[in-house]
Symmetry: D2
Subunit: 388 residues, 4 copies
């Protein structure tokens, strides 16, 4: 068990990165339900992210998505963030929404399309330079819908080539995170379907390439904490896109569907001593708040990560190791579950008060009048969404 | 084994219903890739459906989706169809795209929203009266995303009440098909997640309510042909929304992902003597052609259903029953597989020639110049999609 | 929220039925690892079940499995149980371990095998009469491994016929619970794969037939609490076979894999007022303790059910209903989660002390020396397992 | 499209390895149904394997499983095989059936158990030396059933250490294949759950370590042919354990559940030019014939692999590449499906006749009287099974 002071320090230092696009409208292929007060540009997204950070004290960075967050002056955007008390986190590339990308981007059979896609990746690194971001997050919608549609192997060769060019452009303090996803929007193959595929490409690329785990991108039954432990062991875990799911890539609030899974994941992080910022594991949210108000949903998500981390820090690791070593299955499980069942919320509320924060960030948000304010202020213009 | 003449007659009489919306643009939440020549209104959709029917001789009806296919004069639309050699099939209700439906339609906690949704269902029956359609197909996007969000049980009560009012409005020769779906766009519960739920509601409603099976709406591993056999036994199978999937509700072309499954489904239909139109089983397509050209994809889908049906008709049912009765597992399986592996395409080509059709409908389509014609003609206006 | 006194009374009255075979050896197809002290006959199994009941105060009945628990004198067995403070619960039939059942039992193509199987079911009712059991639990391993192997439909007819004969033999205060299972040991079809199939047969049989839910018998992604709510609404839920799983029918300790799911299930029970014994819902365990000591694992399982029930009783149902009715998704979810995250273990420990029990049943078991005693005493003879 | 002569040569050279244990009794945890004529020792297993090879001309090797196939004199066993026209294939290690292995073998927390397990692996290499086998196949049942039971990461360290010692003992012409499996008999984690884990260990070990794919060991929805293509690209695919499944590790006859998947897998092999023996891909069967007679089931399985390979050889690869390159989704899929739907059985029958074989190996087997002969001869003794 981590002692209370150490645990408190760990919690205080842990940051959860929120995503600019999560403050914007999102939905399913069936319908996007717009919400009042949704930001109309990257500046307003950052304003919302700053609110989450001010209330939780735990969301110091915000990820951007290009081109959704394209602006003329990235330096100004970075300064705006700074002024609001947050920093620009990962830059997320988008090579799936141009008409040219119907059959893929970096894996497309046409070299012209691959050129265009790679250029976009390079442009994202320019934006990293301009904003001070140190992380390029790559997710490719590439894949096929029908058996025979394209050569699985040839697509890998194309992917490797584009990744190489991108990797070589990275600056010294920059890195690339390669995300994998089992399916959607491709329905027969995706070109990076699992952690193994991402790992092999990252290994070939070099030390600045790492795997990022989106918790919603696995086949049913996949043991995600195993992947976490395994990648930590090999030094190739770069971070998480957190969210939760019951079925496919549901993109629900992290911890909402299976809080025990989140606890198990955070246990692997804690037990590998990978919680501290120096460990370089990015804890990012990548969610869609389709039917619930976005800002309080994101606050809730940050709190969920924090609570499960606190529970993981609570595990009596010495006793656990003893029970494991002696093969006492029930005792080891009991020690593990005891930490999960212990309510850490009062302790976290105390920590917040010590930091000068409201002990209940959700209630504080509702009291703040911010929701009413943005609903009133943000009229006119085009609400941001996945398309803009 | 059905003798050749009987099998030929069965194939000739079998109709596959195509869906108006499949001729329009569709996509995923990530992107809709528009295609050239896509219809701009219900009349043009029917024109495309008529092409599919003329080339295959096997797609005599076309389903409508309200409000996507709303017109001022349904009698005119029905006559347009007739003039093109096709008829209006099922009317599909849509209670998921209005902003009011964010938390449900017929299961919504607010009685005002339920009233609005039910009124839409009643309006669809008006359209059935006007178009001569005999089938109302109901799929509800209703459900919840988060545990605790609403009362599962109360939603069932609301559903039952709205279905009752709708059912009671049906004319003598009209029926209601209730579709089920495991998930999407709801990600914690859906209100009609499985065939059992649909069945119980249909049983309570009465003989004019039946279950419709969308082949893409099941949990991984579900044995769909078992459901087919079971519902046929109880007299509650109303029809199919055919498509295929590798993962979730992928909506790929039927038979593309697992042709053997389609064969097994058609075997249950054939062995229950439920292929003929009098049996009242509707064989409908409900697919999304996101990356492939729509009309030839739909022709291919009709052919896939036809081919697997022909294979099922080819099973030596007497020998199969003998092997089954004697417990000869390998022999029974061999007889079954032999029919699947036997190539029926030459025979179907012959049948087409006897009907005065081109033996190869896909090639005939490409030769026809229709694709080029609609791409040239259908300029201006708004291409139809899921939203219009 | 149920007030504390009412909640305490509900917890005190709730009984979890343990299974005689869970005290015996079990394993996978790869290996059964025997454990010291395992019972050698039904009397010793009941002794172990009585220990669980004495320590938890919550396991008053024990299920039998025939023929594994066959004895010459059932009256004596029932009296032995009574003497130990427990009663005989459900009688579980076994028609899957005789060589004749290779291709099925009540669904077998051979009427002779069906006769034999049905006779076994009738014999189980005789044993119910002799032991005072009021519940016959039916699970059939019937199914097929290969497409074409047998007629899905004909098997349903055979099943219905055998169930009818069995149902008609039930006494006035006896009932039949029909279990379903997606797969294993059959790998293509099972003859009762899902709740819908079980429901339809129970409905045809009559009011003394009900569905039993084994929590491990579903396809990935199935929302079990929906089924619970739905069956409660129709009056056809008879009970549970509790256990937990990550993959297939893993038969782990209930609550071990997904405690939040167990909480959601118990919420449906509580909110339908179906917790009390009069509601007739049997809360049974059906697990395999392959690698962990059996008695403490069963105690843990009883506690897990009790804890999740206590959490469910803790839900502020009034506030929840308000949030649901007003469509406040986040508030409703928050109220729900708050009950899950609140630690009920101290309160349950108090309740135990009020009942004169040790507040920590697991620790009390280890202190009792019972494990050492049975390991020393139960030498010689044949340890009980699934085969005997 | 491979020309006919080349295709015929490829088919003639392709060997499918059968497994000694598949001729023995097998079953599920619920029941093993014994069959008449089942071998009682490794010699009789080889006799049966030789029958399969004589009838198909395509099963030249037979895998052994240690200790199930332990004999005093391996040289004599190898000579017996040779005399029957077959050779010894892979040696399969078994570190899951000793009582010591309850909590694992090479990953066990106790170094004594790991020593014992590693010694068994080394012993298997001795047997390779004695029998001339060049392949050690490693599958570990290692894993945990409960969260917290053991350290996921520590188990990886132990695994790596034992694999290293084993690898270093391999002779110059010997290799090690590392199998992965998602679950069973472990139900929370397995220590080698997926191809990525196996790949990383093999990469660390060196060029004589490769991944083996058991087609039944994946999560639902996993695209196996992607893994095949990916591993071929990296040079780390060692072979297959073929079987088929609808749900979990069902171990049904390969091609029985999803023949189209098998075709897609063989297409990747063919298109990577990896079919020839020189490519070093082992095509092995690993199945359980629980309810069907074993020898004809194995013949059927060999034929299924052969038929899907012939179909894959039939793909018009030039036209396919053109369609793929030009982005013609429907055409590419059509070319692919055309090969699948074309009946190759008559051509394969011709090939057999050219080789002096019966065109219908199953019928030839039934005519041969072998089944009756072994049922009559193999009386007395102990039938072989998974335990012996």
């Amino acid at each position: 068990m981590t002692d209370k002071a150490t645990a408190a320090a760990a919690i205080r230092r842990m940051g959860v990165e929120t995503a600019s696009w999560a403050y914007a409208n999102s939905g399913t292929r069936f319908k996007v339900f717009p919400q009042p007060g949704v930001p109309r540009d990257p500046y307003e997204k950052i304003d919302d992210a700053a609110v989450v950070n001010r209330l939780t004290g735990a969301a110091p960075t915000v990820a951007l998505h290009i081109p959704w967050d394209k602006v003329d002056d990235y330096d100004r955007l970075a300064k705006h963030a700074e002024g609001q008390g947050v920093r620009i986190g990962a830059i997320n590339a988008n090579v799936f929404q141009d008409d040219d990308y119907k059959l893929g981007s970096v894996c497309h059979p046409d070299p012209g399309v691959r050129r265009k896609a790679t250029d976009h990746l390079l442009e994202c690194i320019d934006i990293m330079d301009a904003t001070g971001s140190d992380t390029l997050k790559l997710w490719f919608a590439d894949g096929t819908n029908y058996p025979g549609q394209d050569s699985i192997r040839a697509r890998q060769d194309r992917l490797a080539e584009c990744l190489r060019e991108t990797y070589d452009r990275l600056g010294e303090r920059q890195r690339l995170l390669l995300e994998y996803k089992l399916f959607e929007p491709s329905f027969y193959t995706t070109d990076v379907p699992d952690w193994g595929t991402s790992y092999v490409h990252c290994l070939e690329l070099g030390p600045k390439a790492q795997v990022v785990i989106d918790t919603g991108h696995h086949a049913p039954g996949t043991n995600i904490e195993f992947i976490v432990a395994f990648l930590l062991r090999t030094g190739k875990l770069g971070g998480f896109d957190f969210n939760s799911r019951f079925y496919a890539d549901d993109d629900l609030m992290v911890g909402a569907a299976d809080p025990f899974q989140l606890f198990r994941i955070m246990h692997e992080i804690v037990s590998a001593d990978a919680l501290a910022p120096e460990a370089g594991i990015a804890f990012m949210l990548d969610q869609c708040h389709n039917i619930e108000p976005k800002i309080p949903a994101i606050i809730r998500s940050v709190l969920n990560v924090q609570e499960m981390t606190a529970k993981a820090l609570n595990i009596d690791s010495g006793a656990l190791a003893d029970a494991q070593q002696s093969g006492d299955v029930l005792k080891a499980n009991e020690i593990f579950m005891d930490a999960f069942y212990t309510d850490v919320r009062p302790w976290l509320a105390e920590l917040r008060e010590e930091q000068g924060l409201d002990p209940d960030p959700i209630a504080a948000y509702h009291r703040s009048g911010y929701a009413e304010k943005i609903a009133a202020d943000r009229v006119g213009g085009q609400q941001a969404g996945w398309g803009a």
